[in-house]
């Protein structure tokens, strides 16, 4: 263990600046990527940056796990005057997820990008990717509300362009991206309005400071704070694809380049979800009198509806990526349900599911994208008999699919399990029922894909699906494998999620011993 720790902990000079390096490394390298001579070279840069970020992220997480909170003052200015990167256990989980998924999708990117993106655009494409990664990492690292907005914008704009490029120059991607842009902008605007309200009420932009002031001045009676809360929840909820503000997501995921779908599905909504959790539990306090009704009467029902309605929608889709996209919205419902309990257990479950969902959805989209490497196959019927031709790819898909369904011994099962416990502890029987139905529907929509791939017979003249190359299979199987590993021994993600919940809520949970 110590050897491993020696390996992953960065040298002091880097570790000291790890928080900011996580952001500026992809930004600066990304800017430099504009000048990259070829797409392949840009890819190397992107992979290197992502790997570096993961290294930094893990190192940071380990430091957090030892020291509790890491605070980095930008420009040497102490908060609240300066901007602070403040990393506690909650962030560190998000940072690790995002940087890990970034690396995975970056490795995966090369064949997909070479198929789908025009040659002269590739370097800039990787620039956009790295910028987006930086933005997402910034969102989860920063301790300053306005700075969060800035990173939200960075990641959003990068996302819009990434989506708009379209898989195989899919024209529908433009509309999808435009929709996303409009809604994303509304979301960002709402968020910044909310931050404005909070600033008006507290006079500070530092989140920890805001929380302190609101607590000290018992500002939860202030309607300004409540309005701010409303704007922030809706703004971030839109970004996190909270039902019914999710409508940008399915077309965006369905028409974006496959690498982008992989990357976004496993990181973008996660970052927004983290931010939502951060505001709800850390900036605001679940003990605020207005929070609980909102949780109970707005968030929880919306989450439940998302889990049901979007699962149903997924069942009826014919496009594989739309199926998975609607499933993502439903999964966001799971996470939100966890948040809506307002308890440490719920937050743990939500964060845990967030981590697992990144793993499973990443793997699923990778497999789907891998299948499309040789031929444009997006319909379920195109997958008929594909498993025989690309067994490794589709076995990976099956493993992740099982996890998505929540089959025991997979990570997906455990997080649903934790969620179930959390909701039941609140006495929310209906939530348990909803989880059950939604999982059952997942069986249908994932089952359809698997049934086609494994059991159906290929039609005559159907596009030929080939086994994916190694760079695709490597991350795919890594993710699929992690789904199993975490299904068997979830102490790492679960422990981090618990630590995160403990950090923001200040309660000592004793759910499992793996936290330390």
């Amino acid at each position: 263990m110590t050897m491993l720790a020696d390996l992953v902990i960065a040298p002091t000079v880097l570790a000291m600046h790890a928080p900011v390096l996580l952001v500026i490394a992809p930004l600066l390298v990304g800017a430099a990527t504009v000048l990259a001579p070829s797409g392949r070279f840009a890819w190397y840069m992107a992979v290197a940056t992502s790997a570096f970020c993961l290294w930094m992220g893990i190192s940071l997480a380990m430091e957090v796990s030892q020291n509790g909170v890491v605070s980095y003052h930008m420009g040497g200015w102490a908060p609240p005057r300066g901007i602070e990167f403040r990393i506690d256990a909650l962030n560190s989980l998000a940072v690790v997820i995002i940087s890990f998924m970034g690396l995975m999708s970056a490795i995966y990117a090369q064949p997909a990008v070479e198929r789908e993106i025009r040659i002269e655009k590739r370097p800039m494409f990787y620039t956009a990717y790295q910028t987006c990664l930086a933005g997402l990492l910034g969102i989860v690292l920063t301790g300053d509300a306005f700075n969060l907005f800035v990173f939200l914008e960075i990641s959003s704009i990068a996302t819009y362009v990434l989506v708009a490029l379209g898989a195989g120059r899919d024209r529908r991607a433009l509309t999808a991206s435009f929709n996303y842009l409009i809604l994303g902008t509304i979301g960002a605007t709402f968020f910044v309005i909310g931050v404005g309200f909070l600033y008006a009420a507290t006079g500070t932009l530092n989140m920890a400071d805001m929380a302190r002031i609101m607590e000290a001045d018992s500002l939860h009676h202030s309607r300004v704070v409540q309005a701010g809360f409303g704007f922030i929840v809706v703004g971030l909820g839109l970004k996190a694809a909270m039902f019914p503000l999710h409508q940008w997501l399915p077309p965006a995921y369905a028409h974006a380049p496959s690498f982008v779908t992989v990357f976004l599905s496993s990181t973008a909504t996660k970052a927004a979800f983290y931010a939502l959790a951060r505001f709800m539990f850390s900036v605001f306090d679940p003990t605020f009198s207005f929070l609980e009704p909102v949780f109970l009467y707005v968030l929880a029902p919306l989450a439940a509806i998302a889990m049901l309605a979007c699962s149903f929608q997924a069942v009826f889709q014919t496009d594989v990526r739309r199926i998975l996209a609607y499933s993502s919205v439903a999964q966001v419902g799971y996470m939100l349900l966890g948040l809506a309990t307002g308890t440490a257990a719920g937050l743990t479950a939500g964060m845990f599911h967030m981590a697992n969902h990144a793993l499973m959805k990443g793997a699923l989209f990778m497999a789907v994208g891998a299948a499309a490497l040789n031929a444009s196959v997006w319909k379920v019927s195109h997958f008929n008999g594909a498993a025989a031709r690309a067994p490794l790819t589709f076995t990976g898909l099956a493993v992740a699919g099982f996890s998505l369904m929540g089959v025991p011994l997979t990570a997906g099962f455990l997080s649903k399990w934790k969620l179930l416990e959390a909701t039941l502890a609140e006495g929310w029987w209906w939530a348990a029922v909803v989880i059950g139905i939604s999982s059952f529907l997942a069986l249908f929509y994932v089952g359809r894909i698997m049934q086609a791939a494994f059991f159906a017979k290929a039609e005559e003249g159907a596009p030929e699906i080939k086994e994916a190359p190694f760079v695709v299979l490597l991350p795919l199987w890594l993710l699929a494998g992690l789904n199993i590993v975490f299904g068997l021994n979830p102490s790492l993600p679960l422990g981090m999620a618990e630590a995160g919940a403990r950090a923001v809520l200040g309660v000592d949970l004793n759910i499992s011993g793996g936290a330390q």
Binding site: I24, L28, G75, A200, G203
Partner: protein
């Protein structure tokens, strides 16, 4: 300062707000895209005036430069690629459901905003919190007379870095989606001929003369805005925009090819990245010298600890450094965007203007 009731300000506020309202409704009701673009420029100008009335000079300047200036120009460029008229929409009153929603949410907001502290109130959290601290400590700590610059470039320099990146990524987006602008340049022999024709066209003579006079002044003004930003309203963003406007003007008058020859698109593209890099490297230098990212105190090495007198040179150097990054990035991105739009346009006919 006592809280005062100043009727003239109030009247000005009411007038400006009403104008904004009118313009908004007009924009919604209009179908001519050209008119809408023009009106949005007007909207930005009026807002700039209103910001001015509220003593937010920096914001006002930015709004005028960005909102009324370059945005309008870019909109026009973009508009050339599409039709001139939007499809007529249904009457507002027929869509009662959204109306209800908006009214409901609006009233809830109004109700909530009752709790907002009065504008300019001294004991409001905004004025007692960080804002007051900035006022009090920034002359000592940063040493720039313009507190806004101190806040933007130093205290919240990281935000500004982020904004620069936003601009940069927007440029990247434009390039990726619209193209490099070089296509038109390289592939169009006819354009060269037409430009030659245009050169001999007398109808633009006055424009040419005036603009030849004006463009250096604009560039100069851009530099002024930039380097004087620490003392007066202005800074990198405005300067970059103004610089870009100069190039655009040149392009409009003398043709795209001339502009591209004068300021090649590849410069713009590299420049955008360079801007970000400059900003980031300033921060990195601070880091390498032992400070935090963007800790300008370390820009020449670890701070000596001696008093700086009136000017805090490390801080000011840092601020100017990052502002250079900003100006380069912003200017190049704006130019890129313009080139991209203009490069897609087969020709800009006079009657279109």
């Amino acid at each position: 300062m006592e809280e005062q009731f100043v009727p003239s300000v109030l009247i000005a506020n009411i007038a400006l707000m009403s104008m904004l309202g009118v313009i908004t409704i007009a924009i919604i009701r209009m179908t001519s895209l050209f008119g809408i673009v023009m009106l949005s420029g007007v909207y930005s100008l009026v807002s700039a005036a209103w910001f001015q009335a509220m003593d937010a000079v920096d914001v006002s300047f930015t709004e005028a430069a960005v909102g009324a200036g370059i945005s309008t120009a870019l909109y026009l460029g973009a508009m050339l690629l599409t039709v001139r008229k939007a499809k007529p929409t249904k009457g507002i009153l027929k869509r009662w459901a959204p109306l209800l929603v908006v009214i409901g949410t609006g009233s809830a907001l109004l109700y909530a905003s009752v709790d907002l502290p009065a504008f300019g109130s001294l004991d409001s959290p905004v004025n007692t919190g960080v804002g007051m601290q900035y006022m009090e400590v920034s002359p000592k700590e940063v040493g720039t007379p313009n507190v806004v610059t101190a806040v933007l470039a130093s205290y919240r320099g990281f935000d500004t870095f982020g904004e620069t990146v936003v601009v940069f990524i927007a440029g990247v987006a434009v390039i990726l989606l619209i193209g490099f602008g070089e296509r038109a340049l390289a592939a169009s022999n006819w354009r060269g001929r037409e430009d030659d024709d245009a050169q001999g066209d007398d109808s633009h003579l006055i424009l040419r003369v005036v603009s030849k006079l004006l463009i250096p002044l604009i560039v100069l003004y851009a530099f002024y805005v930039h380097f004087h930003g620490e003392y007066s309203p202005g800074g990198g963003f405005q300067a970059g925009v103004i610089f870009a406007v100069a190039i655009m003007l040149y392009s409009l008058i003398f043709g795209l090819k001339a502009a591209m020859t004068a300021f090649p698109p590849v410069w713009a593209r590299v420049g955008a990245a360079m801007g970000v890099a400059i900003y980031g490297l300033v921060g990195v230098i601070c880091m390498l010298n032992g400070g935090r990212f963007l800790d300008y105190d370390y820009i020449f090495g670890p701070p000596s600890g001696e008093a700086h007198g009136h000017h805090n040179w490390p801080q000011i150097t840092g601020i100017i450094g990052v502002e250079v990054g900003v100006v380069v990035a912003v200017a190049c991105v704006m130019i890129t965007a313009f080139y991209a739009f203009a490069g897609r346009t087969p020709e800009i006919r006079d009657e279109d203007w």
